[in-house]
């Protein structure tokens, strides 16, 4: 039987060897050309948020600014379907403010005409999720040159780089003409096929380099922040990235707090356990256990029996 198995092993190894040779010969005879995105795609810029790290907490004022950017700029095309208005309590708004945000929301929630039964709309309630700008994917694509603006509820968990990626993307739109990467390689000279098609926009932080979204944050002061912070493009991008970090991970602060107490608890429990273990094992390996009359258990039994006799007698 071992010969059969050995033969099977040799066969697999052999076919792998053939594949390996095929792979290498293909590579050396026809080396694949690098893609523009391999050479020019940029890793996200660094973004430091107060929510970073194991002890991170959200900056509620930044979250509110970010929500303002979302509602005034992004919500025209991007839905936030998993977030309910009542969730905005986590940003520090009270019930009355939330009720107003909900009922003032520029898109209404679907409902039914109570008299005729036909589809109608109504003002959103705090218990509703934020109504999407487009009723369905077909409508979204029709309004955006066949591109689908993704829902942003989980975007910072759904992209490598998270909030830093969102921030880099929003601030990364640049002119393609004459664009060079850090090594000085010029894009259009070496990869003319990467020229931005008419309805797309060049952004080296996007995986395919050309993204369907036009730069959403173009001018300073595009949004007037309620708390008076100057709304530069950079600031708006940071704030909305922080807001989207919250929409994706509203549990972050609770999670960190629970994690801290549980880690501390387990640390103490482990240390206690370890000390108890050392105590129990102290003599174990060296003590040669004996049986019969010298067995400590039998000794204890006979001592007990003697003690009983003394009491009785």
């Amino acid at each position: 039987m071992r010969f059969i198995l050995g033969f099977i092993g040799a066969v697999f190894a052999g076919v792998l060897l053939i594949s390996l040779i095929g792979n290498l010969s293909t590579y050396f005879s026809n080396p694949p050309a690098p893609l523009a995105s391999d050479v020019f795609h940029k890793e996200p810029k660094e973004l430091h948020l107060t929510s970073d790290g194991p002890f991170g907490k959200f900056d509620k004022r930044q979250l509110q600014r970010g929500f303002q950017v979302y509602s005034e700029v992004c919500s025209a095309c991007h839905s936030l379907k998993l977030v309910s208005f009542r969730d905005l309590k986590g940003l520090g708004y009270n019930d009355a403010e939330i009720k107003k945000i909900a009922s003032d929301w520029k898109v209404q929630a679907p409902s039914i005409n109570p008299d005729t039964g036909e589809p109608a709309t109504r003002k959103p309630l705090p218990s509703d999720t934020i109504p999407p700008p487009f009723a369905n994917e077909v409508a979204a694509r029709a309004a955006n040159n066949n591109a689908l603006p993704p829902d942003l509820s989980l975007i910072t968990k759904a992209r490598e780089g998270g909030p830093a990626y969102v921030y880099s993307l929003l601030t990364g739109f640049t002119n393609q003409a004459g664009y060079r990467n850090e090594k000085g390689v010029e894009l259009l000279k070496n990869f003319p096929e990467a020229k931005t098609p008419p309805n797309l926009h060049f952004n080296p932080y996007f995986a395919n380099l050309n993204i369907a979204m036009p730069p959403p944050l173009t001018t300073n002061g595009q949004v007037t922040y309620a708390d008076g912070t100057p709304a530069t493009v950079d600031q708006m991008a940071k704030d909305v990235a922080a807001f989207l970090a919250w929409t994706a991970q509203p549990d972050l602060e609770n999670r960190h707090a629970a994690g801290l107490s549980i880690t501390l608890f387990l640390l103490i429990a482990t240390i206690l356990g370890y000390l108890a273990y050392r105590q129990i094992w102290h003599e174990a390996k060296r003590a040669v256990r004996v049986t019969g009359a010298l067995d400590p258990q039998n000794q204890a039994k006979s001592r007990k029996a003697k003690a009983k006799q003394n009491v009785a007698g």
């Binding site: 218990s127 206690l272 003599e283 174990a284 003590a287 258990q297 204890a300």
Partner: protein
């Protein structure tokens, strides 16, 4: 403890007294470690139990607004609150008179009509449409339904009969139909579930 294998490592030379003391010192650490682990185990139950409590989306459906402008005296509608039926009835003066004429001592669950309605709006009777016996939806809110001999509601499941103030008069139900918290946000809209 003497029968446990823990005694195996007792040094052979320790006398009876030394052994007794060694026992107690040893035990503290073991007891501490095991109790700590036990506390951890119990604490780990907390999320498992708490996840069964109503989630935030269920708790958020705490209020329902109902437009009552179209309900004529003598009519009623069935609305929904917390996924349960709510009877909203516009009582006629005759029905109010009948309700006030009933002596409290004869009621299983004594309550006046005034206690079950808002001041100045005694004609608006808003109750849960859930029989307090075993939970069926009583008849009588819609046109043509059997209202039972007391002119209020009648539960077909086991024959509980409610009067014009939705109080239990006959049958197995122990309590009157429950009046939820509600508020008149405008003269023609009621918010059920809102504390007033």
């Amino acid at each position: 403890m003497a029968t446990k294998a823990g005694s195996a490592e007792v040094p052979q030379t320790a006398g009876p007294n030394g052994e007794e003391e060694g026992f107690r010192r040893r035990d503290y650490l073991k007891v501490a470690a095991v109790s700590f682990a036990g506390v951890g185990g119990v604490a780990a139950l907390a999320p498992l139990l708490v996840q069964m409590a109503p989630s935030a989306d269920v708790l958020a459906m705490a209020t329902t607004e109902v437009d009552i402008s179209k309900i004529q005296p003598g009519q009623g509608i069935k609305a929904q609150w917390r996924k349960q039926p709510v009877f909203i009835r516009n009582l006629t003066p005759k029905e109010i008179q009948e309700a006030n004429a009933v002596p409290l001592s004869s009621l299983r669950d004594p309550q006046t009509l005034a206690e079950r309605t808002k001041p100045g709006k005694t004609n608006w009777l808003i109750t849960l449409g859930v029989c307090t016996h075993l939970g069926c939806v009583p008849l009588g809110i819609s046109e043509g339904e059997n209202r039972g001999p007391y002119g209020g509601y009648f539960c077909p499941c086991h024959g509980s009969m409610y009067d014009t103030a939705a109080r239990i008069r006959q049958g197995p139900a122990p309590k009157n139909l429950m009046v939820p918290d509600y508020q008149f946000t405008t003269p023609t809209t009621v918010t059920i579930g809102a504390k007033g």
